[in-house]
Amino acid sequence: MTDPIAAAARATPDPLARRIRGLSDRAIAWLFVAPTIFLLLAINIFPLIWTVRLSFTNYRANRPNEEVEWVGLRNYIRILTDDGIWANMQTTAHFLFWTLFFQVLIGFTLAWLINRKFKGNDLLTTLIVLPMMLSPAVVGNFWTFLYQPQIGLVNYVVELVTGTPASSFSMLGPGGLAKWSIILVDTWMWTPFVMLICLAGLRSIPDYIYEAAEIDRASKWRQFWTITIPMVLPFLMLAVLFRGIENFKMFDMVVLLTGGGPGNETLLASIDLKREAFEKWRTGYSSAYAIILFVTVFGLASIYVKALNKVKER
């Protein structure tokens, strides 16, 4: 009779290391992850370090033959003391806050309404998520037409409802409406994304929790605040994180709608950064600008992720 333990030991192949020229398991593990680490260093870390270096110089990418000077903190001081850039940051913050506010509010409400069984539920869900499937370029262009004062649907509806002549105001022009118009378009496009994440959260709540609450004679209102909201909150916070990061770097749609105008009314930091980097070719200066934006997003996102983890631990 064969000893089963000895048989198992014999069946187990020699460690892979012995077969590949004496490499240890650890070395082989490194071999496997090395390409990924190399790519990460080449694509992410090296450009980041290079950008930091450039941010202390007067380098211009369109003048390769010009001598590059080390300017110390000059670029950072210029940016942080520039009223125009602070105005752009405020515009970005305004856009970020209101798009998140409306998308969370409407997205959650839609998810809550759609999270029940009724005829046509699937079709309605599909229709609601259509806007987020469109390209931002397409969205920017067709909303430009919708906002056109003479032939646009938006002005026509406003005239129909309020009696204000359609051609007497411009949604993308002067008068203070432009910054709200871009918020409306982004909300229209990305609310379905928030809705989908909230829907996933709502559907992950086990029915038995609500059944137990029913037995305890908890009202629907109480169930909503003590079961639904706390259990969906991590999902909601995740959606806010994704949308927040995306909207901080919003560029394409706003450029197509307003080009940053009228004046600088909708000039987001990302649009300004692109102009500095690839139209004015102030590479050193724009590198410092990019680092400041990166630190801002990274810092805010880190604080937020910590808060998200705390909510999940509850």
Partner: protein, 438 residues
């Protein structure tokens, strides 16, 4: 085995040689995507027949043209062998080595810049400005001009009403202020049951639109970039009382004579407004005029053209481009052969006949030239008084600053004209300080 290896290597070598040969028998010409570019494609077929070189074209829509092409040049890209680039790029492209200096080639081939209109040579070819260092051959003369609904202007009831209001006949404006009056006269008027407006003008924020439009007024009032050319002494020139008045005029024209929502309008929007019968007048580049005249709905006998009206002096904003050989080309001989072919008087005549705006004197000084198109005389007149934006290597920074200042004042209603121009001097001073020129 050795034989197989040898065969494989030979095949590879032959295919590489074949590729190189194919490359040298092809040229890529880059330009903006617009009507004249299509005419150039047709014209270039003659070059293909004569030279055996296949022509490829890379046309980029105007809003992205500068971004796309300057990125290409700055990265040393080999997409374009020949580039018809904007006049403002010449300083940067010459100093950064993107364009080939053509003096020796011109001398060798007997191509004389004296054969081209002096204003176009100055604007499209030379760097530093006015020095006999040529980086391009004038290819497409252009300026900002105007066109209007001749059929509306001719209506007796409109004529009578205009005469009663302004005490003169309704006709092509002779001054900028007359232009404003005509725009205001048509603004909100009912014609054939449709509400129409005065004029579509350039107000675009993102690229160069509002600068190209407003300089039409600024130059006419006598705006100068510097007190002394080359001195970068801008105080009192850029913000002179005449310049302030011109900018206030442009804002008034925008506020009281343009269709609703024209707060970010450039070439396309101007054409659309005119072709859809919304406006009585419109500004745009002469390059579009052949297409406008041929338009079945608003062209022909319904349209006429006029040069940018003077105020204190005749002046038009310069458009147009020269054709340059890109330094990074792998077909230098082919590219130079194209320039040599394009510079011939016969080719230039055909270029004009196909819708391209030749700058060659053989075309422009032909006694019959003004009769060749309804806008030919206006084109000649405009090219005699063109002024261009800075052509400095830092032109993009200078242009973006002007775009911002003008749009803030004219469209977004921020501050006064004086503040806008004072601010512009501050912005430009900072740019020139960064450049080490101040």
């Amino acid at each position: 085995m050795k034989a197989r290896l040898l065969a494989a290597c030979s095949a590879a070598a032959l295919s590489v040689a074949g590729m190189a040969s194919a490359q040298s028998s092809e040229l890529t010409l880059c330009w903006a995507a617009w009507d004249p570019a299509n005419a150039l494609v047709e014209l270039s077929k003659d070059f293909e027949t004569q030279s055996g070189i296949k022509m490829n074209f890379e046309f980029v829509p105007w809003p992205n043209f500068a971004d796309r092409m300057l990125n290409e040049l700055n990265s040393g890209g080999q997409l374009c062998d020949l580039l018809i680039g904007d006049s403002q790029w010449i300083g940067g492209s010459a100093e950064n080595g993107h364009y080939v200096k053509l003096n020796d080639f011109f001398d060798k081939e007997g191509i004389s810049m004296d054969d081209f209109a002096p204003a176009t040579v100055y604007a499209y070819s030379t760097w530093p400005k006015g020095d006999p260092n040529y980086y391009a051959l004038p290819a497409m003369g252009d300026a900002n001009g105007w066109f209007y609904r001749k059929d509306w202007f001719a209506r007796p009831e409109i004529q009578a009403e205009f005469k009663e209001k302004y005490g003169r006949d309704l006709a092509e404006p002779k001054t900028q202020k007359e232009l404003l009056e005509i725009a205001q006269f048509f603004q909100g008027r009912e014609i054939d049951g449709q509400t129409v407006y005065g004029a579509s003008i350039f107000t675009e924020r993102g690229s160069e639109g509002i600068t190209m439009g407003a300089t039409g007024a600024l130059y006419a009032w006598g705006f100068k970039y510097e007190n002394t050319p080359g001195s970068y002494d801008m105080e009192g020139a850029v913000n002179s009382p005449a310049a302030v008045e011109a900018l206030e005029f442009y804002k008034e024209l925008y506020k009281t004579g343009t269709p609703p929502g024209y707060d970010n309008a450039y070439m396309e929007q101007s054409l659309d407004a005119f072709k859809s019968g919304q406006v009585a007048m419109a500004m745009n580049w002469f390059a579009f005029f052949p297409g406008l005249y041929a338009d079945p709905n608003t062209g022909g006998d319904k349209i006429d053209f006029f040069v940018n009206p003077p105020q204190n002096q005749p002046a038009s904003t310069l458009g147009g481009q020269g054709i340059s050989v890109v330094s990074y080309t792998d077909n230098m001989d082919g590219a130079l052969a194209y320039i040599k072919w394009f510079a011939q008087p016969d080719v230039q005549k055909k270029w004009w006949s196909m819708g391209g705006y030749s700058c060659h004197k053989a075309v422009l000084e032909d006694p019959n030239f003004v009769n060749t198109a309804p806008f030919a005389g206006d084109f000649l007149e405009a090219m005699g008084a063109v002024q261009d934006f800075w052509q400095e290597p830092a032109y993009a920074s200078l242009l973006l600053a002007m775009q911002e200042r003008l749009h803030n004042y004219v469209v977004a209603d921020q501050g006064t004209a004086q503040e806008a121009l004072d601010g512009l001097i501050a912005d430009w001073t900072e740019v020139f300080e960064d450049e080490g020129k101040l």
